[in-house]
């Protein structure tokens, strides 16, 4: 069970959180101009990263805030935690 540092509440056990999947998928500004294929790509296609992966987490049984986590999908080590709107850490690995 992961130990996740909520930017607002501090370290808490994974059971207090829910994972929202890949982070930094920008919602297209003008969906109407997009092809079906491009829209489907935004909707459905996700990276299956081996190594450092940035994902959204929600402290759903706590403060209910969404934030970003950079996590290694091999070791499960958490490399960084940062708030929505903050920049991702420099590519570190």
């Amino acid at each position: 069970m992961l130990l996740i540092e909520c930017p607002w509440c501090g370290q808490r056990a994974e059971i207090e959180f829910s994972c929202g999947g890949e982070a930094h998928i920008a919602r297209p500004a003008d969906p109407g101009s997009m092809s079906d294929e491009a829209w489907a790509d935004y909707l459905f296609m996700r990276k299956n990263t081996r190594g450092l992966h940035r994902e959204q987490w929600n402290h759903s049984s706590g403060c209910r805030r969404w934030f970003n986590v950079e996590r290694d999908t091999v070791t499960y080590r958490i490399n960084a935690v940062y708030r929505m709107g903050q920049n991702a850490p420099e590519a570190s690995a």
Binding site: G20, D36, M84
Partner: protein
């Protein structure tokens, strides 16, 4: 005093005798005994039959490594525990145990004939023989399982209670042997928060079976002193009977503490076990090492035991495991056992050492004691039926025995040692690899991937003095790493061991005939032999992972703790490669089995999933309601009168609403309070229709889509103020919708000034529906003008109802004139009671969710999750009218995808059966023709279906491919019994199509 119990010495309390039963016979032991030590003290070795060949098996080890003595504990009631290791079951008065393999008993096992069939029962026998024909496997399996005996689980609910908790510490020390105690002392002295856990009932680890001098005093005293010092530290917690069975991510260690397992069942009201989820900043793994078996012909007879176990039974329990012993080893450690037996007055007939000319303190002392020491020799086979009676010893040269030089030695105890395997399980759970050490011939921990270090024998350090120093250093360094700079004090000391001869490989003991390999057991629990491993290689299985699965090596409840390394080495040799090339297997939790009860803790029964009831729940109970479970909610389903079945009750409730007035508890609906200057803008993005133009105190129905364009939830939202809305959601969708809204707000639109909070539990809602509902409301509400024009449909008023401050919504889910009255939750029951009294002469009738469903189906109102399944767009549901012209709401772009606009998508339609009395089962598949040709060409399915008293006929709602273009066509619903019900596709609206009844 029995023949096999010493009169003094050891750690059992001879003043507390305990009675117990094993396989129907009465025995006695002492407080401090395990079931195994007590059985051995009574001369009982044979405790089970092996699982496949039904060979007699005896107690082999003294702890978690035990492969044979797996017994059923209990007297045949709900407290029974299957698959318990007798070596770890603490004796209590009245304990009842029995064997699980062997019928009628392990002494007289009719299936024992199987052992003579071994040549016909090699690895893979069951796969090859009984898998064909496949249809009979189920029948074979029944008999094979009964023969095998896997323990009997009680069928009653577990009467014990369990507990579970989190704990946090700086340094978690696993194992309270010499290294672990030294670690805990050093870390504790610095002020670090320490937890020390050990699976045994007593601290001491290997010192309990092999006492030594530490800090100049006997180890028993040193242990007591160490525990006293730790006990005086308020920041240190010591847990006995606590097995750290798994090491998980981010240094979370699961510890199962057995609180009452050593007491008679039901004798206390304490929890039986407690699961500790320990989050440690540093973990020191001081779990010791497990002695390995030796693989020779008939090495599985009762009376063949691990040398360290023989020493433990003697020194800890005062139990003599036999009268005349032979010791067989490839390393120095077993010499201690030979000397301890000799000192206790047990005849040691010989020490058999496979090494040539072993030197050092052990061999010297054995020679000095006059014990025959046969070097360059092995035990090539054993004799005896249900108990060892003798061994054959042969000299070895290289990898072969020297023919013609066989010596037979009579003995009833053979103590064997094949070397030691560090218990690296937790290191491995934590992700660390193992490294093969050529000097000590064992896998030792490689680099740790989490914040764990190993110390003492668990790190491959088998010397007591060095283990103490290593433990102390680990305690000091881990505490320092946590920021504790205090002094760790002095390290405990012991005399350094004299140099001896190194262990020498002896993975497969040679014997004269190759056929002997079929009786050289590698894994006792699964009857895996050296010949089985060779067979697996011949049949093409070369990876250890495949060989394991083919031969079942290491797949027992003991997970091959004593045999796996031997098996791996035999495989390596067969393949002509090294052990590291063959690889180790990855250890996975649990180290020893954890009880499901402990994993569940108190989260069982009603606490497993909370039950939610409304403030009116008692009222429903008194009114005789039956309940429907919706998510966690228990909702009133229908209220049968005496003699009514569900159908009759629902028909009566429906008529009451259509003709008079009905009363519904609507409190379970999700309610989200939304405020802020951008609240209307936010709603326009999450709903498909417009909200900015909605007037204050007006209500509007909205449909929420996922970004994929599929209907996600629906409900009525009311504008309570310019910047204030009250959204309602489906009962089951409330939490999901709030999460959805919060996520979009926080991750995509943080610029919107809007705040939302759930108020589902803060408001109770009563719905009064039917032509007489206005009359009823007017009797209890005088401060709201209820006239049709003053309080129009789809609007909201605030006032008082029955003296309670209320929001009243004029909305309708039945098609009738209807009011939703929302009051603070604490007044919900009072509101219901007041409405019941005021409506008595109007025939007010409580109705439940079933009637609500029928009434809304009359009108074709959808239920999200019943008529939709996450793959339906608003257009599919015929709700084009709700999709606005805007193009910025969630899901908008998906509605124009080629996939979403396919005219052959399933559409929401009505069905009228040809036979007006025939009600189609919900979920029925629809066919164009009544055909049984396979595959059937299905054109849709029925989502809702009822007999409607409103139209006095069967009605159904369905999803039919291209349905909106097929109005008037015929479909046929296929029933499970092969019949068909013919029906005509209609619009999904059966009653009051003009909607006049709600506008009165």
């Amino acid at each position: 005093m029995s023949t096999f119990r010493n009169n003094q010495g050891g750690l059992t309390d001879r003043s507390k005798p305990l009675r117990f039963r094993f396989n129907g016979r009465e025995y006695s032991g002492f407080s401090g005994d395990t079931l195994a030590s007590a059985l051995l003290a009574n001369g009982v070795h044979l405790v089970s039959r092996s699982i496949k060949l039904h060979r007699p098996r005896g107690i082999f080890g003294a702890g978690a490594e035990e492969p044979n003595a797996i017994l059923q504990i209990g007297s045949g009631n709900a407290f029974d525990l299957p698959n318990q290791r007798a070596t770890q079951v603490e004796l209590y008065d009245g304990l009842v145990a029995k064997s699980v393999v062997g019928w009628p008993s392990p002494q007289f096992d009719v299936y024992g004939v199987l052992q003579w069939l071994k040549p016909f029962l090699p690895a893979g026998f069951y796969y090859k023989t009984f898998m064909w024909p496949a249809s009979l496997w189920m029948r074979y399996e029944h008999f094979i399982r009964r023969m095998a005996g896997l323990g009997i689980s009680p069928t009653e609910a577990d009467p014990d209670i369990y507990d579970k908790r989190f704990a946090h510490c700086d340094v978690l020390v696993v194992g309270a042997g010499p290294a672990g105690l030294a670690t805990a002392l050093a870390a504790g002295r610095t002020g670090a928060r320490v937890m020390l856990v050990d699976e045994d009932s007593r601290a001491g680890g290997s010192l309990l079976g092999a006492p030594a001098m530490i800090d100049g005093k006997p180890s028993e005293q040193w242990i007591a002193t160490a525990l006293a010092e730790l006990g005086a530290m308020p920041h240190v917690r010591v847990l006995a009977r606590a097995t750290a069975f798994g090491y998980f991510d981010h240094d979370l260690v699961a510890v199962a503490e057995r609180i009452t397992d050593h007491l008679p069942p039901g004798s206390t009201n304490l929890p039986r076990q407690r699961l500790w989820r320990v989050r440690a900043r540093r973990v020191v793994v001081a779990t010791g090492a497990i002695e390995r078996s030796l693989v020779f012909k008939d090495n599985d007879r009762p009376g063949v035991m691990l040398a360290s176990a023989v020493g433990t039974y003697l020194n800890r329990y005062g139990v003599r495991c036999g009268r005349r012993a032979v010791v067989f080893t490839n390393n120095d450690s077993a010499y201690r056992t030979a000397l301890d037996l000799h000192a206790a007055g047990i005849a040691v007939a010989a020490v058999i050492d496979s090494r040539t000319g072993p030197q050092g303190a052990g061999p010297d002392a054995v020679r000095a004691a006059g014990i025959p020491l046969l070097d360059s020799s092995v035990v090539s086979s054993t004799r005896g039926r249900k108990r060892l009676s003798g061994v054959s010893v042969m000299r070895v040269s290289g990898d072969a025995v020297q023919q013609g030089f066989e010596t037979r030695i009579d003995c009833d105890l053979l103590a064997i040692s094949g070397g030691w395997s560090p218990a690296i399980h937790l290191h491995s759970h934590a992700g660390g690899k193992a490294r093969w050490d050529e000097t000590t011939l064992c896998f030792v921990p490689g680099d740790a991937l989490q914040q764990n270090v190993s110390a003492g024998a668990a790190a491959g350090n088998f010397d007591l003095a060095q283990s103490l120093a290593e433990g102390h250093a680990a305690g000091a360094s881990t505490a320092a790493a946590c920021g504790f700079g205090g002094s760790p004090g002095a390290s405990p000391t012991a005399a350094a061991a004299a140099a001896g001869s190194a262990i020498s490989p002896l993975w497969l003991v040679p014997s004269p005939a190759p056929a002997d390999d079929a009786r050289k057991f590698v894994d006792f629990q699964n009857d895996t032999t050296a010949a089985d491993i060779a067979l697996a290689v011949r049949e093409g299985y070369h990876s250890i992972e495949h060989v394991k699965r083919y031969t079942a090596l290491g797949f027992g409840t003991d997970q091959g703790k004593t045999g796996n390394i031997n098996g791996m080495a035999i495989l390596a040799k067969t393949l002509g490669q090294s052990i590291p090339e063959t690889g180790t297997t990855t250890f996975r939790p649990a180290y020893t089995a954890a009880a499901f009860g402990a994993l569940a803790g108190a989260d069982t029964g009603a606490l497993f999933d909370p039950v939610r009831v409304t403030p009116m729940h008692e009222w429903h109970l008194q009114a005789g309601a039956l309940f429907e479970i919706v998510g966690q909610w228990h909702r009133a389903w229908y209220y049968p009168h005496a003699g009514e079945d569900m159908h009759a009750a629902v028909q009566r409730e429906c008529r009451a609403v259509r003709n008079g007035v009905g009363l519904l508890d609507y409190s379970t609906l999700g309610k989200i309070d939304i405020r802020g200057p951008d609240a209307a803008e936010f709603l326009e993005r999450v709903y498909t229709n417009g909200w900015k133009g909605l007037g204050v105190h007006r209500c509007r129905y909205g449909v929420m889509l996922g970004e994929d364009g599929m209907i996600f939830d629906d409900g009525v939202t009311t504008r309570l103020g310019d910047q204030h809305f009250l959204m309602t959601t489906t009962t089951g969708g409330a939490a999901r919708v709030l999460s959805h809204l919060e996520r979009w707000h926080q991750t995509e639109w943080p610029d919107l000034k809007v705040w939302m909070t759930t108020v589902s539990d803060q408001w109770s809602t009563a719905v009064i529906a039917g032509p007489k509902s206005r009359e009823l409301l007017s009797r209890v509400c005088t401060d709201i003008d209820l006239a049709r024009e003053a309080f129009p449909f789809m609007s909201c008023r605030e006032g008082s109802v029955a003296g309670i401050r209320a929001r009243v919504l004029r909305v309708s889910f039945t098609g009738e004139l209807s009011f939703e009255i929302m009051v603070p939750a604490s007044r919900g029951l009072a509101l219901f009671q007041a409405l019941e009294v005021a409506g008595k002469d109007l025939g007010i009738t409580p109705y439940g969710t079933e009637t609500m469903h029928v009434l809304r189906a009359d009108k074709g109102f959808i239920i999200v999750g019943q008529d939709t399944d996450g793959s339906m767009t608003p257009q599919d549901m015929g709700m084009h009218w709700i999709v606005g012209k805007r193009c910025d709401f969630i899901g908008w772009r998906s509605l124009s995808r080629e996939y979403s606009t396919d005219p052959q998508r399933k559409h929401f339609v009505g069905l009228l059966t040809d036979d007006p009395k025939a009600v189609i089962p919900e979920g029925a598949q629809l066919l164009a023709e009544p055909s049984t040709v396979i595959p059937a060409q299905m054109v849709g399915h029925v989502s809702s279906s009822y007999f409607s008293p409103s139209v006095e006929r069967s009605i159904a709602l369905a999803l039919v491919k291209g349905g909106q273009q097929r109005i008037g066509e015929k479909v046929h619903a296929a029933l499970a019994d092969g019949r068909f019900i013919a029906a005509t596709i209609t619009k999904p609206l059966f009653y009051d199509p003009a909607g006049e009844r709600q506008n009165v």
